[in-house]
């Protein structure tokens, strides 16, 4: 543990009574130059639910935050030390920089991919099932009665998979930690940025790729915390995910839109604050959690610095890169970022989201959110193509990537096209040693939710993309609530494949052991 002691390099204020403590130490005579108001828009921030639940404070009583040099000496430094009991018992996480243990053994022997189709009976056995790596509830319920069944893809989707108990622990590779508001980050922000929050309308990232009201942002079964938006409460996460039978651990994603903060220094400061917040408020209190760190993805150099700052923390297993970026992540500007991640055994998580201010399509702004939601799958395709074509996996062979919550059923078609093109255009990208699909097979994995395919189609897709090999179970909580993760296993999976999807691949990829504390 001590070797990692200095990995979170910047001092962090104690959470204990921070605002009142600060106020008590306030000496107004020294700070007459600092405006004394928090901007009214901040106080009325619709996303700032914590603040809204408190009685409104008269504006003139709000104190300015302390400059960092006055606060930091008072902080107990030992709070910086990440305390994660799992680490010592985790043999798979490589202590050697640049060596990712997950690298070995990824390519499995060719399965008899098409055996199931030879007798033509497959569709009858499974064709009536739709659960598509289930979204917890039967997604076909809504609207079924209102609308007809005509149309492509319409199947009889009434039957549900019979759940065969598989004695497998489960890793939920995709749950969300939602920053409730910039207020939550204040204790982790340097003085300058606290002042910016206090004295300007700066609110960090005020918007989200998951608008709080959007049905996809919160499943009807996801409970809303007493204060704060869904996904911001550890107790509820425990109740609705971690304490489910069999859950061994979960990987937090934080889709906080760092990339929407144009000021690169502000973005870097907020990213650091989010990461420290993740450590202090999620990883430390809950040993079953791991997390994806956030980075100022629009400023690759600063992103590398942030990976260097916190990337060795054993709780961080992944770097979250929102797929809507200003430029594709395969570009050479990003290669140092990928290298920095791989050196630490960190996976690069290409996640749903990204608020760059640029249009979410290559042809401008769509009209409806549902278009953006669906289109995000196409954005993930663009990013994946970029990573492969630009030779990221050639330049950083230890790099592993996970496409988080952007689907996967699109993968085979995309690879068939990309491979076809590559055969003719290879001279343009001579650094590629193999067909693009082979890079994906070796280096890229996908979280399962949200569900979309009917069972027969899902089986086709999975056979075309090397079976269970590529999938990590991920509920997407609170976007989805999965009551029984084992029910998300495709009906035709063998026990071995189910194990791989539910935990095996994630354990290997993220270097997760079997924590003593797991239930």
């Amino acid at each position: 543990m001590s070797a990692r002691r200095s990995s979170v390099g910047r001092a962090r204020p104690s959470r204990r009574g921070d605002s009142t403590a600060r106020r008590a130490r306030h000496d107004s005579s020294e700070r007459s130059d600092i405006p004394l108001r928090i901007d009214a828009t901040l106080r009325n921030d619709a996303t700032d639910m914590t603040e809204r639940n408190e009685p409104a404070e008269p504006m003139d009583r709000i104190e300015p935050v302390e400059p960092i040099d006055r606060i930091d000496p008072l902080l107990p430094m030992d709070r910086i030390e990440p305390v994660l009991p799992i680490e010592s018992s985790d043999p798979s996480r490589s202590p050697i920089p640049g060596v990712c243990r997950a690298a070995a053994g990824w390519i499995q022997p060719e399965k008899s991919r098409h055996a199931a189709y030879v007798d033509g009976a497959f569709a009858d056995r499974h064709g009536s099932v739709r659960h598509g790596l289930a979204s917890g509830v039967d997604a076909t319920d809504a609207g079924r009665t209102r609308r007809g069944r005509r149309g492509c893809g319409a199947r009889d989707r009434t039957a549900r998979r019979k759940v065969t108990p598989v004695p497998t622990p489960i890793v939920d590779a995709n749950v969300h930690a939602v920053v409730p508001s910039v207020t939550a980050l204040l204790p982790y922000l340097p003085a300058f940025w606290r002042e910016q929050v206090a004295t300007t309308a700066f609110r960090g990232a005020p918007e989200s790729a998951w608008p709080p009201g959007m049905p996809m942002s919160r499943h009807p079964d996801a409970r809303v915390p007493a204060s704060g938006p869904p996904g911001s409460d550890l107790a509820l996460l425990r109740e609705q995910v971690l304490d489910l039978p069999g859950i061994e651990s979960a990987v937090l994603q934080c889709a906080y839109a760092i990339e929407s903060i144009r000021n690169p220094d502000g973005a870097a400061a907020v990213a650091a604050a989010v990461n420290d917040w993740l450590v202090a408020e999620w990883l430390e209190p809950e040993p079953r959690l791991r997390a994806s760190m956030v980075v100022p993805s629009h400023t690759p150099g600063a992103a590398v610095a942030e990976i260097e700052r916190v990337g060795d923390h054993p709780g961080f297993v992944q770097v979250f890169l929102p797929i809507r970026s200003a430029m594709p992540y395969g570009r050479r500007e990003y290669h140092p970022l990928h290298a920095a991640a791989a050196e630490r055994g960190l996976v690069v998580g290409l996640g749903y989201g990204g608020l760059t201010g640029n249009a979410p399509t290559g042809v401008g702004w769509p009209t409806y959110l549902v278009e953006e939601f669906v289109g995000m799958a196409a954005v993930a395709q663009s990013q994946l193509m970029s990573l492969v074509v630009e030779g990221v996996f050639d330049a950083v062979p230890a790099l592993r990537a996970v496409v988080v919550e952007a689907g996967f059923t699109w993968l085979p078609a995309m690879l068939w096209r990309l491979d076809k093109n590559w055969k003719g255009l290879r001279r343009e990208v001579p650094w590629l040693r193999r067909a693009p699909s082979e890079y994906v097979r070796e280096h890229v994995r996908f979280t399962t939710g949200p569900a979309d395919a009917p069972a027969a189609g899902l089986r086709h897709v999975l056979d075309d993309m090397w079976g269970a090999e590529l999938l990590l179970y991920g509920s997407g909580y609170p976007h989805d609530v999965v009551a029984d993760p084992r029910a998300a296993v495709p009906a035709h999976f063998t026990d071995e494949e189910a194990t791989a999807m539910l935990s095996g691949t994630a354990r290997e990829l993220y270097g997760l052991g079997s924590p003593a504390g797991a239930r």
Binding site: G153, V363, P366, T367, S382
Partner: protein, 366 residues
Amino acid sequence: MTALEERPAAPARTTWIDCDVHIAMPSPAALRENLPEEWRERHDRYGGNPFHASLYPRMALGAARTDAWPPDGSAPGSSLPFLREQLLDRWAIEYAVLGPIVRPDQAGMRNPGYAAALARATNDWVVREWLDPDPRLRSSIVVPVEDTEYAVAEIERVAGDPRFVQVYLQIKTSAPLGNRRYWPIYEAAAAHDLPVSIHFGGVGGHPSTAAGWASYYLEDHAGNAQTFQHQLVSLVCSGVLERLPDLRIVLIEGGVAWAPALVWRLDAAFERMHDEVPHLTRRPSEYVADHVWFTTQPVEEPPDPRSLARVFDDLPCLRDRVMYSSDYPHWDFDAPDQVLRTVPLDAALRAKIMTGNARELYRLPR
């Protein structure tokens, strides 16, 4: 019976309807000649203020097959005798649906008058040089897509000629194609019983992906498929297919195999977000099934050809919606007798793809 149960078989027919054949003016001088007098000088001096998207090196001159340059050295696709030799006669093409390369969307996007002049000049040139001399040819109406009024006027002007079988748009537009600004084009097309086709390429003034510009032609080319997905989502969610029940959309050179996954995702999202698009009275998959056609080239080539056959099981409407196309004279040309040869399609489906679906869509006489 599923497509899979059939063994690979020789095509039952030996003719094809080719739904994507490109023609070009032989030279820049020819383009100038075809413009009306009053535009020639402005053409010389200003062009049409294009969006300056620039291009990638495309591995092949003019993105054309190396052997597609006519003997006189003029542009690929500019010689009817050579087109006959290399495509129409060689493979017994029953009909070829032309897509002119001279396109106002690229050259004249920001100057609507110039774009309209280009469109008129192109359509007239098509009639004169191609449709009149060869009865196997049909063509697509070139329109200044970003100026709806001019676009509608051009449709009205030439739609009376039945050899124009569709309106021609490009996939890269300045707004998603479901945007209401484009609806008058769809209305005019539907009123004339013309499908609206949307072809690979174009220049819309945006980076090629939602994550900025791709670096390589390989990405740009394959990435067009993602733009097709965005555009189809836009068309479906906009409600224009609800509003115009007779509108037919043809997606040309965008691939096919992505369609099932996109439709699944659309339907699944719609189930939870339908109240955002209350103007849709049916599931997205139903609009796709009723309104959307696909051409094959550059058809996805999975390592196991059976995977491609299963796409038709995953989205059964595709049986009636997929039409063969070659993309002659471009480098990514799919040869009629080769491209689906190893894919185990049942004979009926193969016939639909090679001729039947196109004959029905374009109402082509036997």
